[in-house]
Amino acid sequence: MRMKKFINDPANLTKEVLEGLALANSDLIELHPNNIVVNKKLKDADRVTIVTLGGAGHEPALSGFVGEGMLDVSVVGDIFAAPGPQACVEAIKLADKGKGVLFIVLNHAGDMLTGNLTMKEVKKLGLNVRKVVTQEDVSNAPRSNADDRRGLVGCVAVYKIAAAAAKEGKSLEEVAAIAQRFADNMATLAVAVRGATHPSTGSPIAEMGEDDMEIGMGQHGEGGGGRQLLKTAKETAAIMANGLVKDLDLKKGEKILLFINGTGATTLMEQLIIYRDTVAYLKNIGIEVVANNVGELLTVQEQAGFQMFMARMDDEMLAYWNAPCYTPYYKK
């Protein structure tokens, strides 16, 4: 598959996408040196603040969620590549308003290395930082081996929950505990029907057969097992919902947050049909969807497919989820 994208020099992709994001949302965010995206209202924050790190190329994630009620600072590396620890330490120092910083890291090899090196350094500096890792991809490891589970779209929900708890004036320990409890009760499965190209190199990531889909695709088309013939929306929704319900051990009467997250080249039409079929499947087994998002939150270039995300909700979590937020790509 030949790459066909509207870009300039591939070496400048990250810089240019962040400049575009900052220009388009100059009322909400500002771009600092070293690819650090900052909530414009951070300077007035008298609360725990939220910092994350990750590669570019997944727009609107992660930096599209910087703003009031979600992220205070996002540290961006390069396309699909983590930033270095120095920029993260700088970001944490910038974010710390005296109440401590929650540092949210997705479980990917590079992100984790940088996250761990950053934590080592901020401890040395005596900063008050707690790290929460999102690792909710059920496809490549059982729940008992969560360290092998990748972080997918669930991070976006964790930003929202943690920030809402922080906004209530909770302490860093409390915010971290709430974010962790939410993260422990979430699960995601990704499916792909067509791979993407790496925008820096033009090389394909995860080529698929014409008639195939793969359930368990991970974030960047890493793959994870279930390659099979393409099925209908209803059948696909049932397979994936069943996998998540089993993993979360959801029982009749429980309430969930449900995302259908398009990964770049699957239409909103398809996502809405999948959502409809998932809700119907869940209703049939007595599980209620109390909150949702259908649309693109975290993409993988032009990969066709979607991530289905579920999180167990109680009244407290639902209140955090429904709290107001105002960021470039998520507003409530």
């Binding site: 983590a82 620890p85 120095q86 920029a87 990917h108 290395l113 490549n140 090389s203 890493e222």
Partner: protein, 208 residues
């Protein structure tokens, strides 16, 4: 012979040349089970090696000061896992007993210290299909060589090349490729191959 700044600069520049020249190949093997940008990252690392060599020629850093600077810069290039991994290894080459000239025993201690530092951030072992497949055999070969820099680097190079080749037969246990399990057999690990270029470059630079 002992290694002075002028030797190191030649050796490191040769490493950078190999990494530049193999940018496309490294990305290509990485694209099988990774995201296909290892060549891009190693190319950035090569740029850092070259720019820090230029700086070293204009100042009076000791060997340890140089590697400490190099390692910090590599760790912070925004290069996914390879940045922190190679950065930590190079930072680890900086020994506390800082010298301007290094003999074979000092070089052995440097290499082993680099590996020890790297092992504080990763548990990967030989056979896990990572850079360790080349790095650990290279450092073992260097350590068990006589105290002669030329022989030591020659043996390290051979072991690194062998190790990178052997990575073809392993199942990936780290990073993005891990999910593909047995399918990764038959493709060498991009990190092991890039690591072999480092030892090839060091040896060739010494001879040049």
């Amino acid at each position: 012979m002992n290694l002075e700044k002028s030797h190191w600069v030649k050796m490191l520049r040769r490493v950078a040349t190999h990494l530049h020249e193999n940018k496309l190949y490294l990305s290509e093997i990485d694209s099988k089970f990774g995201d296909g940008d290892h060549g891009v990252t190693m190319n950035k690392i090569a740029d850092v090696i070259e720019s820090t060599c230029d700086l070293w020629l204009t100042n009076d850093w000791t060997i340890a000061e140089y590697f400490s600077e190099l390692g910090d810069r590599i760790t912070n290039i925004s290069g996914g896992s390879a940045g922190p991994l190679y950065g930590t290894f190079f930072s680890g080459l900086a020994l506390e007993e800082s010298q301007s000239v290094c003999d074979a025993s000092y070089l052995k201690r440097m290499l082993n210290h680099g590996l020890e530092e790297l092992q504080t951030i990763t548990n990967a072992k030989v056979g896990d299909k990572t850079m360790m497949d080349a790095l650990i055999p290279a450092i073992d070969a260097a350590t068990s060589s006589p105290d002669d820099i030329r022989i030591l680097l020659h043996n390290a190079r051979d072991a690194a090349i062998e190790g990178a080749k052997a990575s073809e037969h392993f199942i990936s246990r780290f990073g993005r490729a891990k999910s593909y399990k047995e399918a990764t057999i038959g493709t060498p690990d991009a990190g092991a191959v890039s690591c072999s270029y480092i030892f090839i470059g060091l040896y060739e630079g010494l001879l040049s």
